[in-house]
């Protein structure tokens, strides 16, 4: 962010105002649509302000890993297609795409959203593999939170396909995928020396540092990731966690509808 811009943003923040008129702790409007892709086992389209993210779940049957013969697999992958942002490029996943994939993956997995043992079909032989793919089509800021909401919403929507003679019948689904926990990732950003949430892409240009906090419904932490070039103090981190807990309530209100 150019110096003048930074000074302006700071002046705004001191009055508890954002460039788009929001308060520092205010999220943009959150909209969630479920079952938006009928070939997926579960899917959702999430709009956080103008940021728009699709997420879909596909399941397949695989052999379990040797060290966990009674557990299925679950993986999150984010595809930053060049559609959503003029700076995204074609080709192999960028560092940013890998960071989003990994951090959301950790949140869902370590937050034990799904009990991997319940994905076991036949111990040592067959387990369900659950793939969650996240595709933003418009990046207007705070992709991390939008991706995490979309991944959780798609999981909430997911149903198992029917197995016929050992083969998957993708046209028919029966049992719902049970969620043990509903972990969400909330990112607190340090911009113009202040802690704010849900920045739009103009504000994002001025990010000094960010901390993404994975939270369960009861406030237990399940993942952490510090990003950005500048450091945080311990006080800032503890304050960020309080802010994240308040923000989680706002996201959950829409997720629970």
């Amino acid at each position: 962010m150019v110096y003048d811009m930074k000074k302006n943003v700071k002046r705004y923040y001191e009055k508890n105002l954002r460039l788009d008129g929001r308060k520092k702790d205010e999220i943009r409007e959150l909209k969630i649509q479920y079952s938006v892709s009928k070939n997926a086992e579960g899917s959702a389209k999430v709009q956080l302000g103008e940021t728009t993210v699709y997420a879909g779940v596909k399941m397949s049957i695989e052999t379990p890993y040797d060290d966990t013969p009674d557990q299925g697999n679950l993986m999150v992958n984010a595809e930053l297609t060049p559609m959503g942002n003029p700076e995204f490029e074609m080709g192999p996943p960028s560092d940013w795409a890998i960071e989003i994939s990994r951090v959301v993956d950790r949140t869902i997995r370590e937050g034990k959203a799904v009990d991997l043992k319940k994905l076991c079909i036949e111990e040592g032989e067959k387990v369900w593999s659950v793939m969650i793919d996240i595709v933003p089509i418009n990046d207007a800021g705070n992709l991390l939170d939008a991706a995490s909401i979309a991944a959780l919403a798609a999981l909430k929507d997911a149903k198992f396909p029917v197995i016929n003679d050992g083969k998957i019948d993708y046209k028919n689904h029966d049992k719902k995928l049970e969620l043990e926990n509903k972990p969400l990732l909330i990112t607190v950003y340090k911009i113009a020396d202040e802690l704010v949430i849900d920045p739009d892409y103009e504000e994002e240009e001025g990010i000094q540092a960010r901390i993404s906090i994975g939270l369960l419904e009861d406030g237990t932490l399940c993942s952490l990731q510090k990003g950005g070039e500048e450091p945080f103090t311990k006080e800032e981190i503890m304050k960020a966690i309080k802010i994240a807990k308040e923000t989680a309530k706002k996201y959950r209100k829409v997720l629970e509808q």
């Binding site: 089509i137 418009n138 990046d139």
Partner: protein, 239 residues
């Protein structure tokens, strides 16, 4: 064997329900959305913008680059692995050629226009839906165009020439006559065919019948695309 009645009760020359929008992706310079039945395509246009590496630049004219992509969860059956495949590469370049006749590349020397097509949900006819969305997006980006390119998949199902096949028709059993799939794109007002592909058995007169039907349908689709652009302008004027 004859195919008497379509699985979803449509007439043989009737498309599935179509929905088109312009200006759906705010970050892009232009964007379009095209839904036909359960096949849904978004297209975003960026540019004309600088082309790198520099040696690819052409001082006489600009270039058009298209990337067609199915979201990993969008296909029937197994997950589509992310990244390019032979299929997506081919569809990308035939889409490029389908759109090129509508553009004046001389308008933007040394530059590139990027078109990105993403499909969140598919049920046959994806390249045609992608082309329709891309064409709306190019116009929405304010590029000078000779017309809007419209596209549809026709084909032969059993013994009938059919407009806008769905997945179930694409999988019509071989024993009952099988299927020929014939995606086609046109600048329908100018009688220019800009994409034509076919697989399956088709007689000469069946092709002729299909091409005649294609123009009729594509003129209608062209109107829907124009309407989408008009609605966006109206929306903006009201804001």
């Amino acid at each position: 064997m004859s195919y008497e009645k379509r699985f979803d009760n449509r007439k043989f020359d009737e498309t599935r329900k179509i929905e088109a929008k312009a200006g759906v992706i705010k970050r892009a310079d232009g964007s379009g959305y095209f839904k036909i039945g359960n096949t849904e395509a978004y297209a975003a246009v960026y540019g004309p913008r600088n082309l790198f590496p520099k040696f690819m630049q052409d001082p006489q004219k600009g270039i058009l680059r298209v990337r067609y992509n199915m979201m990993p969860f969008s296909g029937a059956g197994e997950r589509v692995r992310p990244g390019t495949s032979r299929r997506s590469k081919e569809i990308s370049f035939v889409t490029e050629n389908a759109l090129l006749p509508a553009l004046n590349l001389e308008d933007f020397p040394n530059a590139v226009v990027d078109v990105f097509i993403e499909l969140p949900q598919t049920d046959a006819g994806t390249r045609a839906a992608g082309i329709c969305a891309a064409s709306i997006a190019l116009a929405d980006a304010g590029l000078n165009m000779k017309g809007l390119v419209s596209a549809i998949a026709l084909g032969r199902v059993g013994d009938k020439i059919v407009v806008d096949l769905d997945k179930k028709e694409e999988d019509f059993p071989e024993e009952e006559g099988g299927v020929a799939d014939l995606p086609i794109a046109m600048l329908p007002e100018k009688d220019m065919i800009t994409l034509l592909q076919m697989d399956g058995f088709l007689k000469e007169e069946e092709l002729e019948e299909a091409l005649t039907k294609a123009k009729e349908v594509l003129l209608k689709i062209n109107e829907i695309q124009k309407q989408a652009l008009k609605e966006k302008i109206k929306r903006e004027a009201e804001e």
